[in-house]
């Protein structure tokens, strides 16, 4: 369980940040979030869609994101999520923490992940 436990916590933290970061760009619905995370990490982060919605509801409960139902002509209605001011702050803080963590990794393990920047 040791490695998996660590893995899980790490993924949970990173999942929240990934969602916040994707919502920073524009409002999106759940399926789009799942697809983008898979695509942009080139499959490296296949965090399961099962835990996506719980994470979304948790973020919503904490007031970091907002959800609203949008109806478009000829389409099903969907719930779109967007970032709140509190979420924006949290994202900035989490980015800072991750940067520290990654810098720490680099100093200790000479590990430099290849980061792909998405334009905010």
């Amino acid at each position: 369980m040791g490695a998996t436990f660590f893995d899980r916590e790490l993924k949970r933290g990173s999942a929240e940040m990934l969602i916040l970061a994707l919502l920073e760009e524009q409002e999106r619905h759940g399926y789009e979030l799942a697809r983008l995370i898979g695509e942009r990490s080139r499959g490296a982060i296949s965090f399961h869609a099962a835990s996506l919605y719980p994470t979304l509801y948790r973020l919503k409960g904490n007031g970091f994101i907002d959800g609203r139902w949008v109806e478009r002509a000829g389409q099903r209605r969907r719930r779109y999520y967007r970032l709140t001011a509190a979420g924006r702050k949290t994202l900035a803080r989490q980015r800072g923490l991750w940067e520290q963590f990654v810098n720490g990794l680099e100093r200790v393990a000479r590990f430099r992940p290849e980061l792909e920047h998405t334009d905010p």
Partner: protein
């Protein structure tokens, strides 16, 4: 829209409802949106409808299983009753007190927690292994309805069986409109040389019938499963690839469908990719090729065509394996007669019998008894560590008599005091349990690497909640178990006179009090447990050593073997390649002898031949024997021993007289005393008579099974047909054999660059691989026994130390009255060894009673081997003498003046 016609919205709603959880409509709608999007996406990528359906259904399952985020959070019930509250608060204060009490004496606490941790770790790992391997359902839907099929033939009063196979006649007879099964599928293992994707490599494959996917109720992740129209021959050859192969060799590209792979030089079109959990028949299998079970009679040919393969069926709901087996047997008996081939395969052409074994039992049957014995062993180990904690707690209770008496005088009820002691030992148990669980997760992570490669279902063993739950329950049980005895003891203390005393036992009471008797009884039990485990470990390791050293009829040292699969070649070309390779190998310095064979011993492959022969007396006898086609020097390369006559030589050529060599069992069974010179009517060659020129010692083809009749013919003379098996080169070397494997590879590549060597291994490595399981079991049991011994040693040390401390006044009086240090030393040692001897006797009696259950698994050693038992006894006495030494020395060095004054 899902195939069932219901909308995803309805299906998701029903899935949640079936778990009794109420979910918000908005959440359901959102999840349904997700499902619809996923469906559209997968369809667009060309995934087949059934696969899409499966993928989404799996997704819905995951949503339903996901913990509570979908429901509203439960609010803590404000009406918590007052009694519950007071119980909780008193428990909390007891917990605080327990932690304080334990931290005042960290030594015994640490020892107790450590022994519990070791016990719990072992139990959790074994429980997890037993769950993952023996109990967890196979990864197919409704897998309890899957059965493996075995065919045998009645032979006299018994049945002749050959491996785990079914013949085409019986299979096809049952496949036609069966009443008891939904589907029947066939497969057989295969291997191919894959070329055209970088370096050529040998890959494991399986030929599977299209119906096998119906039996397993699964299909590819991408693409389509096999259809009846897919054939293994001709231009339309198709292949399914494993998920691992797809990611490893094809980078997981989406556009692999339609791509061609070259297998043994022939193109095969990829029609699908299997999911990650499809590891059939094992996890090494990378490719699947369609397999059609052929009829026994080919139209226009008089020859029967018997095929052997593995088969599995899915029972109809409500049908038992026995009912289905009855139908299968009846059908098989109505199938066309297999004739003499049946004798070759089954050793008899009596009526067929079909046996069905549940697929899970079948996959795990050779590890089940060992796993259960090991589980029993770790439970004993845990019992030993619980006893240890109980003992420490008993000792602490006795030395805390004053403290307990004061608390009783201050108004604590005896029940409260007892509960306090149980809470204390539960804290010890939980601390140990937590540490044990952490240790177990580390062990469980590395476990798959420790287990032999052919251990079933290793990939499905993960440290899950089963192991954790077992550990937790065991930890609490250990704590309660260890606390009950001291608690009972404490109740007796209350109300007696300990307050008036000084906390030390009066002279003599150190041994005779009921607490002391309880401690001694526990000590005896611990020694008994250690004895049982030690006897088991000693017997298993001896059995393993005997297996290692067993005479296999040839010399396993300094032999290198290499498989050289030559598929699709004629006998002449095969021999030309092999002869060329042997010629080159023999000129390599350090090679003593080199040859090749169609079947190597200890590999599990087999090739049988059956023929009728006139006995010297005139009677005809039907011979059934293993058949080996070997080159001239093969037997000397393997170090086989000649009993009579000679081995093959270079003078046995294609043009010389046909010769054969038989093993001792063959000679005894069919030829009698004058085997050399007899003639065997082998083959339909222009020269049907083969003269026996030598008799060799029996070579074991498998490990513990009895040796059957075996005959050898020179490859130079055998030109008839494919001899069965697959060519293996064997060479005897002067130095370490593995050094020659690169040279071997370069020689083969030099002869023909499209050839790839299969498995290259020394004969000793093959023996070791064969013995991987016995080795693992004896190593594990030895580790458990060592731990039990350590625990018993610590326990003995603790009990005696405590006894010496308690009896210090008595010992001082003895010393003042003239007892010498040596006599005091003897006194304590005698006490310790008496306990050990008693435990030893109990343990030996238990071992002898239990040996029946493991006796038949032992090789080369009797379960009642007196030498082993005596060695274990001596070892245990020696170990306990060491554990007794320190307390005994302390007793001998007591200064009577100091002790008596301090009182």
């Amino acid at each position: 829209m899902p195939a069932s016609g219901l909308s995803w919205n309805t299906r998701i709603r029903e899935a949640f409802d079936s778990t009794g959880r109420h979910i918000d409509d908005a959440v359901i709608e959102e999840l349904a949106d997700h499902a619809n999007d996923l469906e559209a996406d997968l369809r667009q990528r060309g995934v087949e409808a059934a696969a899409v359906e499966r993928e989404i259904a799996a997704q819905v399952d995951l949503w339903v299983q996901e913990p509570p985020m979908h429901r509203s959070r439960r609010v803590l019930d404000p009406d918590l009753s007052a009694t519950t509250l007071s119980l909780v608060s008193s428990l909390a204060s007891e917990l605080r007190y327990a932690v304080r009490a334990l931290s005042r004496q960290p030594g015994p606490f640490a020892v107790g927690a450590t022994t519990i941790a070791l016990g719990i770790c072992a139990v959790a790992v074994m429980a997890n292994l037993v769950w993952g391997v023996l109990l967890q359902p196979l990864p197919w839907p409704e897998s309890d309805r899957l059965v493996r099929i075995y065919e045998s033939r009645q032979a006299g009063s018994g049945f002749g069986q050959f491996g785990g196979i079914v013949t085409n006649g019986s299979y096809l007879a049952w496949q036609r409109e069966p009443a008891t099964i939904d589907a029947i599928g066939a497969w057989s293992d295969d291997e191919h040389t894959l070329s055209g994707l970088g370096q050529a490599e040998r890959v494991r494959s399986a030929r599977v019938s299209p119906s096998l996917f119906d039996v397993l109720r699964t299909g590819p992740l991408l693409g389509r499963p096999f259809r009846d129209a897919d054939t293994p021959q001709g231009a339309g050859r198709v292949v399914l690839i494993s998920h691992a192969f797809w990611t490893r060799r094809l980078d997981g590209r989406r556009d692999v469908l339609g791509l061609a792979l070259r297998l043994d030089g022939e193109p095969f079109t990829i029609i699908g990719v299997m999911g990650t959990d499809f590891t059939f028949p094992d996890r090494e299998t990378a490719l699947w090729i369609p397999f059609h079970v052929p009829p026994t009679v080919t139209p226009g040919s008089s020859n029967g065509n018997i095929k052997m393969f593995s088969a599995m069926a899915r029972l109809k709901p409500g049908v038992t394996a026995a009912q289905a087996a009855a139908e299968a047997t009846a059908r098989a008996q109505s199938a066309p007669h297999a004739g003499p081939v049946a004798v070759a395969v089954f050793g008899s052409d009596g009526p067929a019998r079909m046996t069905l074994v549940p697929a899970l039992d079948d996959a795990t049957r050779d590890v089940r008894p060992a796993l259960l014995v090991l589980l029993a062993a770790v439970c004993l180990l845990l019992a030993g560590s619980i006893a240890n904690v109980a003992n420490v707690q008993l000792a602490r209770t006795a030395s805390r008599r004053r403290e307990l008496a004061i608390r009783s005088a201050l108004g604590a009820s005896s029940g409260q005091l007892a509960r306090q002691l149980v809470v204390e030992s539960v804290v010890v148990g939980l601390a140990g349990g937590l540490a044990g669980l952490l240790l177990a997760t580390v062990v469980a992570e590395t476990l798959p690497a420790w287990l032999p490669a052919d251990f079933p279902r290793v990939d499905q063993v993960r440290m899950g909640w089963q192991g954790a739950l077992t550990a937790l329950v065991a930890a609490v049980a250990a704590g309660v178990g260890a606390g009950l005895l001291p608690a009972w003891q404490a109740r007796r203390l209350v109300g007696s006179q300990p307050l008036a005393e000084d906390g030390r036992a009066p002279a003599g009471q150190g041994l005779r009090s009921s607490a002391a008797r309880a401690r001694s009884a526990i000590m005896v039990a611990q020694v008994a447990i250690a004895t049982v485990l030690l006897v088991g470990a000693a017997l298993l390791s001896q059995s393993f050593v005997a297996l290692m050293r067993a005479d296999r009829g040839f010399d396993t040292t300094r032999v290198l073997t290499a498989e050289l699969p030559l598929t699709g070649d004629t006998a002449t070309r095969r021999n030309a390649i092999l002869d060329a390779a042997i010629e080159r190998i023999r000129s390599v310095p350090g090679v003593v002898a080199a040859g090749y064979t169609n079947i190597l011993p200890l590999t599990g492959s087999e090739s049988m031949r059956v023929f009728d022969m006139q006995r010297p007396g005139g009677a005809s006898v039907r011979v059934r024997a293993s058949f080996r086609v070997v080159s001239g020097e093969y037997m000397s390369a393997l170090g086989m021993r000649v009993g009579h006559g000679r081995l093959f030589s270079n003078t046995d050529t294609a043009s010389s007289r046909r010769v054969a060599v038989v093993n001792a069992v063959f000679a005894q069974q069919y030829l009698g005393d004058r085997a050399v010179g007899s003639v065997l009517p082998l083959g339909s060659d222009e020269q049907p008579d083969w003269e026996v020129v030598g008799v060799v010692d029996n070579v074991r083809s498998a490990d513990t099974s009895p040796v059957g009749p075996e005959m050898f013919v020179p490859a130079a003379q055998w030109r008839d047909d494919r001899p069965g098996g697959s060519p293996v080169i064997a060479l005897r070397t002067l130095g370490p054999p593995t050094e020659l494997s690169p040279i071997l590879r370069s020689i083969v590549a030099d002869i023909d660059p499209t050839l790839a060597l299969g498995k290259v291994a020394t004969m000793e490595e093959r023996v070791l691989a064969l013995l991987a399981k016995p080795r693992l079991y004896s190593a594990l049991l030895a580790a458990f026994a060592a731990t039990a011994l350590a625990i018993a040693g610590v326990g003995l040390f603790g009990v005696l130390s405590f006894s010496v401390a308690q009896r210090s006044r008595e010992l001082a009086v003895r010393s003042a009255l003239g007892a010498t240090p040596a006599s005091l030393l003897q006194l304590v040692l005698r006490q310790g060894l008496a306990l050990t001897s008693f435990g030893l006797l109990v343990g030996m009696a238990l071992s002898l009673a239990m040996v029946e259950s493991v006796g038949q698994r032992l090789y080369g050693v009797s379960g009642r081997d007196p030498v082993t038992l005596a060695a274990v006894a001596l070892f245990l006495l020696g170990a306990s003498a060491i554990a007794c030494l320190a307390p005994a020395l302390r007793a001998a060095q007591l200064d009577p003046v100091v002790v008596l004054k301090s009182g």
